[in-house]
Every structure is written in C-alpha cells, then in structure tokens.
C-alpha cells in the first residue's frame, strides 16, 4: 500500500529534525534552530495554487489558533519560489510563513525523506518537532490526499505540556510568526 510505503521513508519519530535555513520572503529567512524551545509543525506540500477551496494550507490557516494553543508554530514548505509563495499567501490570507525549498531544489525535503523524485516536488509530509528539536510524530499522506489536521492535533496533545508555557508561546507565536522566544528553562536537561 502506498501510504505505508511513504510512511517508512520520511524521517520517523525520535529522529533529530535536520536543521535548515530557508527564505520565507524575498528578504527574510527562517532557521529551524531559531525556533528551538518551541514546538514546530513542518508541513511539506507539493505546490502552491492547488485548485480547491480549503486546500491544505488554507485549512491550516483556519486551524492556526488551535496550533498556537498547543504552543506550536507552523511552517509550510514547498519547492515554489518566494514570489510565488508571497502571491499565494496573500491570495489565501495565510498568517504563517511559507518557506521556499527552491535552491537547491527540494534540498530540505530530501533531508526529511519527503521529496518526490518523479514529480520534482515535496511529498504531503507532516512533522511535529518538539522543544528540543526532536521529531515526535511524522506522517506522509498519498500525494493526492490532503491529510487534514487531526493527526497533528493528536500528536500535539500527546506531548507533555509544560506548565504556563503554552499561553506565552501562543501569544509569541501569534504576534511574531517567525521570531523565537528564548528556550524555556524548564525544558533544559530533558534533551535526549
């Protein structure tokens, strides 16, 4: 089955999330390392402009407050260029960064085992990365099927909640999407 085949290829839970720096806009970059101390959802997807309402990114945009409530920052990643992302994000009114895995094309998607050589695009692959930079959940959907958000929310709920941290992070996440708060002291020392 296709689903199982994919699931075995993307980086699995327990793996350290490979660091990367990608452009979010023509003059802004986002590094995964800068988000240490915060939960991060990486949503790889094949391409901007899929011809449906409520495509995967638009759906996540609607659910963003729920992700923030769990102290998680969302990053969309595809091989589209920054100008394409900018137009797409404006059109869909997206309030989270779309990163451009453009040069070398799909380089980050490859690191995560989420590149489709036959299509030259990223898979529909989801990763939940914890405060220490470790992948805690991953899922690869058949490329034609938008995986929705239920798996992400279940994975976030399964993570231990640090007292008092969630609300602060949610506030930080909603005001400055790409900026990272300082690492939480409570989580120090718990790194695997």
């Amino acid at each position: 089955m296709r689903r199982g085949e994919h699931a075995s290829r993307v980086l699995a839970a327990g793996t350290r999330a490979p660091d990367f720096t990608l452009r979010a806009t023509p003059d802004q970059s986002v590094s995964l390392a800068d988000l240490r101390g915060q939960r991060v959802i990486l949503a790889f997807y094949p391409a901007d402009w899929s011809p449906v309402c409520g495509d995967q990114m638009a759906l996540y945009n609607e659910i963003l407050p729920e992700f923030h409530r769990h102290g998680a920052e969302l990053l969309g990643i595809s091989v589209d260029g920054v100008w394409c992302h900018t137009a797409f994000a404006q059109n869909r009114k997206l309030r989270f960064p779309l990163l451009s895995d453009f040069e070398p094309k799909g380089g980050v998607a490859r690191l995560y085992g989420a590149y489709r050589d036959q299509d030259g695009t990223a898979e529909r692959a989801l990763f939940v990365v914890d405060e220490e930079g470790v992948i805690r959940w991953s899922y690869c959907s058949p490329v034609g099927i938008n995986p929705g958000a239920d798996g992400i929310l279940e994975a976030l709920e399964a993570l231990p909640l640090e007292a008092g941290a969630s609300a602060d992070r949610a506030a930080a996440a909603s005001s400055t999407p790409a900026a990272a708060p300082p690492p939480n002291e409570q989580s120090a020392g718990g790194a695997p």
Partner: protein, 179 residues
C-alpha cells in the same frame, strides 16, 4: 491512528434528512460560500432522490472564514432559521443564492421562508450560534476534514470523486452491506 473517522458520530444535535435507521448515512462538512459546495448541492439533491429512504443526509458546518468572509454568518443564519424548524429550507436557499450572502441578504432569505428576519439579524449581531458552528468546525478538524466539501459515508471519510454516479455507487454499496 486511523485517519478520517467521523468524531463525534451523528447524533441528536445534528441536522439530518431521512430516516434515523437508514442503512447508510452521508455526512457533508460544508461551507455556504464555497463554490464547490454550491456545485455539490444539486448533486446531493439527485442522490437523495435516487437513494430515497435508504439514505440519511447530515450537514455539518465547516466555514472557511479566512477565505470566505460571509461563510460564518451564513452558517449562523442557517442555525437561526433552524431554531424555528427551517434549517434545511435555509440551507437550500443559501446554496441557491451563493452570490448574495451579506447579512442583509441572509435576513431576506430567512424572511422568504417565513422566518422572523429581526430574530435572525439579532442572532447574527449577538453571535448567538457562533459556538454551535465552531463546534461543528472543530468536529470536522478532529475527523480529518481536509477541505470543502468533505463527505463521510457511514463514519469513514470518502476520498473519492463526488459526482452523482460516484456517490450513488459508493452509497449503494454501503447500503447493501448494511441491509
């Protein structure tokens, strides 16, 4: 973890057409301002006619308010009409008038059904049904809704094409399995 299971299952609080003991239940998560849902509307009417009493149809709200500015109020207006027993009538009128979904039009649509327009206007102003609509939306998120419309057949997300023939074939198969 199984993806795409309807949660919570269809219950008392749902808007349903057709017998509660029908062999197959089709749930639509829909957005009144979504053109694809608008396209699905007449298809579902024909599917209902073809399946007859063997089908129960349920509608749950999944307004994509960020891209469809009128979708949340349209859903709340349908609930307001529903409070007077006219949910499905309002549901139909809204889908048949997707180009006119501002508050004033929603009130006018309700009035065309004999629903108290002032009551609907007040419900929109006070967000009386906001939580009801949000609860539907969140149930959709938890069930793996991945766009609009998303369909569930007997509680399992239906990822196939939703043309009339495809839906009838899938529903007939399910109805036969549960006869």
């Amino acid at each position: 973890m199984s993806r795409g299971r309807l949660s919570p299952p269809v219950g008392e609080g749902d808007h349903a057409q057709g017998p509660a003991d029908a062999p197959v239940t089709l749930v639509e998560y829909g957005d009144f301002e979504c053109p694809h849902c608008g396209r699905a509307h007449p298809i579902l009417k024909r599917v209902q006619r073809r399946l007859g009493d063997r089908l129960r149809l349920v509608f749950r709200h999944f307004p994509l308010g960020e891209i469809h500015p009128h979708a949340v109020h349209a859903a709340e207006a349908a609930e307001a009409a529903g409070a007077e027993g006219k949910f499905w009538e309002m549901h139909d009128v809204i889908f048949e008038h997707q180009a006119a979904l501002d508050d004033r039009s929603l009130v006018r649509h309700a009035e065309s059904l004999g629903v108290d327009g002032a009551r609907v206007a007040r419900a929109l102003e006070t967000s009386e049904f906001e939580e009801r609509v949000r609860a539907d939306f969140m149930s959709g998120v938890r069930s793996g809704v991945n766009g609009t419309p998303t369909f569930f057949i007997s509680g399992q997300r239906f990822d196939g094409a939703w043309g009339e023939e495809e839906l009838v074939a899938a529903l007939e198969e399910e109805a036969r399995a549960h006869r």
